[in-house]
């Protein structure tokens, strides 16, 4: 017997084969989104120092629509010395902005977790601002894969 393919079947497959992302079609790799601009606006043009911030993201996203993100910033979180804000950007999404977290000494610690959308393999960047104006950062790459074929 020969298998016949209905037009409907072929169409359903075409649609199903492409990961459906909340951003719509990711299209060709974005050369550069507005991540630099957002960081500049947040830092006032100062260059953050690497360190103090620790970003935690999976090496490979299970699902680009919901990627767990956590971060923590080393700080005593006292009135004298604390983290005020943490900016999170993603350099491969259509737009870089992800979230800005706000802390105070009442937070006790500067750490938080959420879940984010990543359209493709890219870097996620966290920049922390201290009450004395000093700035720190961390970067993590997350791989977003088509999947399948394992086993």
């Amino acid at each position: 017997m020969t298998m016949t393919v209905s037009r409907r079947e072929a169409l359903a497959l075409s649609a199903g084969a492409v990961a459906v992302l909340a951003f719509g079609s990711a299209g060709p790799a974005f050369a550069k989104n507005d991540s630099d601009d957002l960081i500049k606006a947040f830092t006032g043009g100062k260059t953050p120092t690497k360190g103090k911030v620790r970003l935690d993201l999976p090496d490979i996203a299970e699902n680009g629509n919901t990627v767990p993100l956590a971060f923590s910033v080393e700080s005593p979180m006292t009135d004298a010395s604390h983290v005020t804000d943490v900016l999170i950007v993603a350099d491969g999404n259509p737009r870089a902005g992800v979230a800005t977290f706000h802390f105070s000494p009442r937070s006790g610690v500067a750490e938080a977790a959420t879940r984010i959308r990543l359209a493709e393999t890219q870097n996620v960047i966290a920049v922390a601002k201290m009450n004395d104006g000093s700035l720190f950062m961390d970067t993590r790459q997350v791989k977003v894969t088509i999947g399948g074929c394992g086993g």
Partner: protein
Amino acid sequence: MPTGRNATRRDLLQFGAATAAALAAAGLDPGGWTRAFAQQRVSEADLLAFQPVGNVTLVHITDIHAQLMPVWFREPTVNLGVGEAKGVPPHVTGKALLESYKIPAGSPLAYALADVDFEALAKTYGRVGGLDRVATIVQAIRAERGDRVVLLDGGDTWQNSWTSLATKGQDMVDCMALLKPDAMTAHWEFTLGEARVKEIVDSLGFPFLCQNVRESEFQDEVFKGSTVVERGGVKVGIVGQALPYTPIANPRWMIPNWSFGIREKELQAEVDKLRAGGAQLVVLLSHNGFDVDRKLAGRVSGLDVILTGHTHDALPEPLKIGKTLLVASGSHGKFVSRLDLDVRDGAVRDFRYRLIPVLADVIKPDAAMAATIAKHRAPHAKMLAEEVGRTETTLYRRGNFNGTLDDVICEALIAERDAEISLSPGFRWGPSLLPGQAITREDVYNATAMTYPAAYRMAMTGARLKEILEDVADNIFNPDPYLQQGGDMVRVGGLAYTIDVGKPIGSRIGDLTLTRTGQPLAADKDYTVAGWASVNEGTEGPAIWDVVFAHLGRKKTVAPTGASTVKIVGA
């Protein structure tokens, strides 16, 4: 691990000595025990011979892939390692593997571990595996070692045969229950879907351990992460690790509420909790894959033993990373690992290991297990035995690129689905067939039986095809093991390409050519592609086994030569 390769060499030598000593003690020729049996059959006693040591015996089986019956199984010719894993076990195959472990050519272990002279040795030693043979070995070890034995199943147990598909894993669950394992972990089990997995786990009678599976919303545990058993006066902590990339490698829609990942931090916490609770020996029952476990062993402290699974590697000796012993026990019921440990004052003082090849003609079947297997097979036996074709050459799957069995499937997809190109998943499961053998329905099911078998047909551009090949290649050849998912390269029909495994994603794959015309693929041109095992929900098409049956029905006989359309560079 900057000195990884040197350390590995040194460890190999140490373990070689330990093994030789063990065998000498068992009355066998040290360093070449198999030589005496090379040209004749071995006995069950020979295969089980072991000079016991210590107070705990770990028995490990993994990746049975629902193979209740003995099978032929040819090991890979090509199993490339990248980065620090380049050229080191388990990325050593064939003659090089035998030489590095000083395993005599033609010995039972050589037959079981390498593809060298596979067809000839298959005639000498026969089929491998069979859960009734595994049962005999487990019972013999228990009879000898009494309450010191811990039996652990590394997962990929409940799926990938016809009967396991038809019974939603019940045949395997019932048969494994007779073995009385102390715990298991999982991967393909999850392709039965959340509801069925929960249903089985609730009545399993032993722990289903997955520390790295969490409910997606608040990250609560779905299954137990660990368990403690007392054996030989030793508290043994066992942590289970499911395949971290299950929702990527297999359909996420089947397990929508569960999240996976390696979860190193949580694993460390689990190990620390067991130690704090008095565990003197901590074992990771892992479905991570060998290279992931090798990296993990250097990063998670407090693990005495990792029983690895997923990548189907079989090593004749444990590999030592720091203080952690890595044991690789093969697949398809072909091996049973026995690791005796002398645990004192919370540390492993001594150990002895044997990778026992399950030669089905040598090990006698256990009657109770054989009866349970027969009961589950009875309703399907006649259908499964039906001949659907013949093969003139060896059909096998295992290897980084197309095996001959994959070639048959890829050819069937092109012919029956009227496609220009076919794609077939790089599954490592699926037994082999010998030249001149009839191909039965069961043989086809053993290479294809799974819960998302639809053989799709669709248009893909040349650019999309390259993107898929690049994506899968990076999942196998990324130098960071934590970015590897296991499995092998997607199999192709009607398509030739070059792969440079040493390059980064996006630049490994080149020279894509449509073999039918000899023309290079055009990036923006549509090609008709047939494939199966899509992870996308709602994929439509006939089941892949029906495609293969139809093809064999018309061809009658197949004879794939194994000639590859893939050119490998940089390996």
